[in-house]
């Protein structure tokens, strides 16, 4: 399964009241094109989606916050897993789309191939769902997404995915508009 297909699966089961924070590059584009709008599409700040999602989850405790990030982003901001585990907001869920590469910049390898996600996340004290594997059945994938999404506590779902990304047009919103749209939903 490709990362964008997981995003499409997720999009089909969202209530519409969640706020998604997506990591820069392909993943933000895919979230823009496949999920309800508006969300917080990060265009830069590689390594910071978990931190942004953590701050947002604290400021909006009544809202379910979903972070979707790539393995390159995860590794660049690995320490933020510790901070998040320490703060533990129950309205925060993290989905890692690990395609093993920096797909956005031309499919160069990341170092994520050596990671053992259950051990890594257990080590951070983060409750985690059994990882989605590349050859999981669609039913298994849907189940794991449901368990993750409806977890009553902070929860992480790692997904090992294939790297191909569809060609999608650039996000037409200026970042200032992305912020303004969030301000609208804060009121």
């Amino acid at each position: 399964m490709y990362g964008f297909e997981i995003i499409q699966e997720l999009a089909s089961v969202l209530s519409g009241n969640e706020v998604i924070v997506s990591s820069n590059g392909n993943i933000s584009r895919q979230v823009y094109h496949y999920c309800p709008q508006p969300q917080i599409y990060l265009r830069g700040s590689m390594g910071l989606p978990v931190s942004v999602g953590l701050g947002l989850a604290l400021a909006r405790p009544e809202t379910q916050i979903l972070i979707i990030l790539g393995d390159g982003n995860l590794l660049m901001g690995l320490g933020s897993l510790s901070t998040t585990s320490y703060v533990r907001p129950s309205n925060l869920k993290i989905l890692i789309l690990d395609n093993g590469v920096y797909a956005t910049t031309g499919l160069q390898n990341t170092t994520s191939g050596t990671l053992n996600y259950p051990a890594l996340l257990d080590g951070f004290g983060l409750s985690n769902i059994v990882p989605i594997l590349r050859n999981d059945s669609i039913e298994d994938i849907k189940d794991k997404i449901q368990i993750w999404l409806h977890s009553p506590e902070l929860s992480v779902l790692p997904a090992l995915v294939d790297a191909k990304a569809p060609t999608l047009s650039n996000i037409p919103l200026h970042p200032e508009e992305i912020s303004a749209l969030q301000r609208g939903s804060n009121d």
Partner: protein, 164 residues
């Protein structure tokens, strides 16, 4: 010296309900005071200063306000968090930065060069800043916050040894 409890009370009154950052010894008294201010200000200890700017950005996306404490050595690590996140998305926050590497730090060469270029890097990244001093500290903060709200961007306070 500014009383750190009064400093936190003042920022709380100005609407800051969150703070994050990485400690500097200059801020140890203030960080201790967070314990007595838990009701009004939630402090999130970060692992890196760019992470703290990320957290403050998330808080701002959610319509609340956070300030971020860091050494100037930490300021040296937040360039991308500023330019491609907080400044780009117009997310207001107050950076409280210790100004290491000046005269009292002559035995700490690790701070010297950063001490020399601190103001240049603030100007270079277009972050408006004010030096916080004992005298008139409330007015200085008010000036900084007026700029922060008007520009909807990060602004900074530079804090020398013994001020907080």
């Amino acid at each position: 010296m500014i009383n750190p409890a009064e400093f936190l009370d003042f920022l709380g009154e100005k609407g800051f309900s969150f703070a994050s950052g990485v400690p500097c010894s200059y801020f140890s008294r203030m960080i201790n005071e967070f314990e007595t201010h838990q009701e009004s200000i939630t402090y999130i200890p970060a692992t890196r200063e760019d992470e703290a700017v990320g957290i403050a950005s998330g808080v701002a996306f959610g319509g609340s306000r956070a300030f971020v404490i860091m050494q100037n050595s930490g300021y040296a690590t937040i360039g991308d968090a500023l330019t491609s996140l907080a400044q780009l998305y117009k997310l207001p926050m107050l950076l409280v930065i210790s100004w290491r590497g000046l005269e009292p730090d002559r035995d700490f060469p690790e701070h010297s060069l950063m001490g020399d270029v601190t103001e240049d890097t603030l100007r270079g990244y277009q972050v408006p800043y004010w030096e916080l001093t004992d005298e008139g500290w409330q007015q200085t903060i008010e000036l900084a916050l007026t700029k922060m709200e008007e520009s909807s961007r990060p602004v900074a306070l530079l804090v020398k040894q013994g001020v907080l």
